[in-house]
């Protein structure tokens, strides 16, 4: 088991389509996290930026970009990229520096300014890039992969379109209570069913939007936290950033094919399940001890998949768990009390950080109308393109 690090401060720039640059969103979130921590920017010994591919060169060196925007003060800098898992990589880098004694207080920032419509690869002819190839050869957008997973669940587990819609209904109800969410309106099953099909069988309201947003954390050693008056801070006990095991037999973004299992038997667990497993093992905590979970609901069907991959229920039982109300606020294990990506839309490098912000508010008892009573342990889960695991376990 590794030592804990403290979450001293959290901050978000509200999600939306604001039409401004990612630096502004990140700087706003960073200042909010510093204020929440009760620290000055000069108290920060290291800054870790989660990169965005949409911000030109400054987006590729996000750590330095945010440090400059906040005013150069000489902090150590790190910039990381792992697609949707960039935020978890940034948290992992910050934690490693704290546990190694390289820095006492680290600012973690991620922000994105998303384009309209489908995410698309950068221009040029790049036949060696699987992400470019899947668009070029197949026109396979992200929602196409979500459609494949959804249809597979329907065939294997008997999930229905109404099951999927009920995930949206649940998350929209929570998002309506969250001042940082982009969509703050309740949604009905009928509204989901009436929205346009994007990628059979999924409809517009089954699929998360792409958003502008920014998220930041101030992480520190427990000793630093105690010195600064935080006697019982929320603590991060595990950060899982694992890669898959060969052969990976679930067709994943952005691949055109799975690994072949002709020569080697598939691993016991799917990649997604192994991400959570690594976090549980590192924390010495099991799924039965969780108070809440924030999972990456890129689509409604994918949220159901996470229930099983996190071990909240057995394989094929996710729709039943949902329909029992177990994953709604007040249930046994509320999932996406923030409103999830259904209510936020994805701001790629900020999202995994925002998940930890939500856990922190919930674990502190500061989540307002969406507060989960008595929350003590939470998990986040996410998966980045190209084989990036992302899961954080935090506790009070």
């Amino acid at each position: 088991m590794t030592a804990d690090v403290a979450v001293l401060g959290v901050g978000l720039h509200p999600w939306g389509k604001w039409g401004r640059g990612f630096v502004e969103y990140g700087a706003v979130a960073a200042r909010a996290a510093l204020a929440d921590a009760g620290l000055e920017w000069r108290d920060i010994g290291s800054v870790v930026g989660a990169n965005t591919v949409r911000g030109g060169y400054p987006g590729q060196v996000a750590g330095a970009t945010f440090a400059k925007a906040l005013g150069w003060q000489g902090a150590r800098v790190t910039s990381v990229y792992a697609a949707c898992a960039s935020g978890a990589q940034a948290i992992a880098a910050a934690r490693a520096q704290i546990l190694a004694g390289l820095a006492e207080a680290v600012l973690v920032v991620g922000a994105d300014a998303a384009p309209r419509g489908f995410f698309r690869p950068a221009g040029g002819e790049r036949p060696e890039d699987p992400d470019w190839l899947r668009f070029r050869l197949l026109g396979a957008t992200n929602p196409a992969y979500f459609g494949l997973y959804a249809r597979r669940r329907m065939a294997v587990h008997g999930d229905t379109l109404e099951d999927f819609a009920l995930v949206k209904v649940k998350n929209a109800a929570s998002g309506a209570l969250n001042p940082h969410a982009r969509y703050r309106r309740r949604v009905t099953v009928e509204e989901v069913a009436a929205s346009a099909v994007v990628a059979d069988p999924l409809r517009l309201l089954d699929i998360c939007a792409t958003s502008d947003g920014g998220a930041a954390l101030v992480l520190s050693s427990l000793e630093f936290a105690h010195r600064h008056g935080a006697s019982e801070p929320v603590r991060i006990r595990a950060v899982s950033t694992v890669t898959p095991h060969y052969p990976s037999t679930v067709l994943d973004l952005p691949d055109i094919a799975t690994d072949s299992a002709a020569a080697v038997e598939p691993p016991e667990r799917s990649f997604r399940a192994s991400i959570a497993r690594a976090a549980y093992e590192e924390a010495g905590i099991g799924p039965e001890e969780l108070s809440l979970a924030e999972v990456y609901d890129l689509s409604t069907a994918l949220e159901l998949q996470w229930y099983e991959d996190l071990g909240l229920c057995g394989e094929g039982e996710a729709a039943k768990l949902l329909r029992e109300g177990a994953t709604a606020p007040g249930g046994r294990i509320p999932v996406n009390a923030s409103g999830g990506l259904a209510s936020f839309g994805e701001a790629v490098p900020a999202q995994a950080i925002a998940q930890v912000c939500e856990l922190t508010w919930q674990l502190r008892g500061e989540a307002g109308e969406r507060q989960i009573t008595g929350a003590r342990v939470g998990i986040t889960a996410n998966q980045g393109l190209f084989g990036h695991g992302s899961s954080v376990i935090a506790l009070r």
Binding site: P121, F135, L138, G139, A140, T141, R151, A257, A262
Partner: protein
């Protein structure tokens, strides 16, 4: 003017008609199969590394899952923005002997509503798009028992 037929990606498929096949590679040391082809190193972490030899994949498989594209995909997918968008289905197919799932466009005329998980399909030559000089070719999946 007749167009030249050119694969949209080099070395991934070959042959005409019933002889059309996807081309992967197989490791001579551990027998692992790769598609898209690996030509440099075997990716099996337990393999000391063997020679990678081109191998045609099974012609037929069963549908692992499927979906469709109701909206025009962005570049680098090529489509004529002046024509109304026509959705096509995407099919992920499990090949039994290779134990691999390969994604592809459905053959023209095959809609998502015609498909089901577990249904048998076969690989057939397809056209990705055409420009003034070139017909860019690809692979398509087509339910078996459907005529060309």
């Amino acid at each position: 003017m007749s167009r030249t037929r050119t694969p949209a990606v080099a070395g991934w498929f070959a042959g005409e008609g019933d002889a059309f096949r996807l081309l992967g590679t197989r490791c001579s040391a551990c027998a692992a199969v790769f598609f898209p082809r690996e030509d440099t190193h075997c990716r099996n972490p337990g393999c000391p590394g063997g020679t990678l030899v081109e191998t045609p994949l099974s012609r037929r498989g069963r549908i692992w899952s499927y979906t469709d594209t109701r909206y025009r995909p962005p570049s680098p997918y090529v489509s004529n923005p002046e024509l109304p968008w026509e959705p096509y289905a995407l099919i992920a197919v499990e090949l039994e002997s290779e134990r691999i799932v390969v994604l592809g466009q459905a053959a023209p005329g095959t809609a998502a509503a015609d498909l089901g998980v577990g249904m048998e399909v076969e690989v057939v030559p397809g056209v990705l798009h055409e420009d003034t000089e070139t017909t860019w070719t690809t692979w398509n999946w087509r339910p078996t028992g459907v005529g060309a």
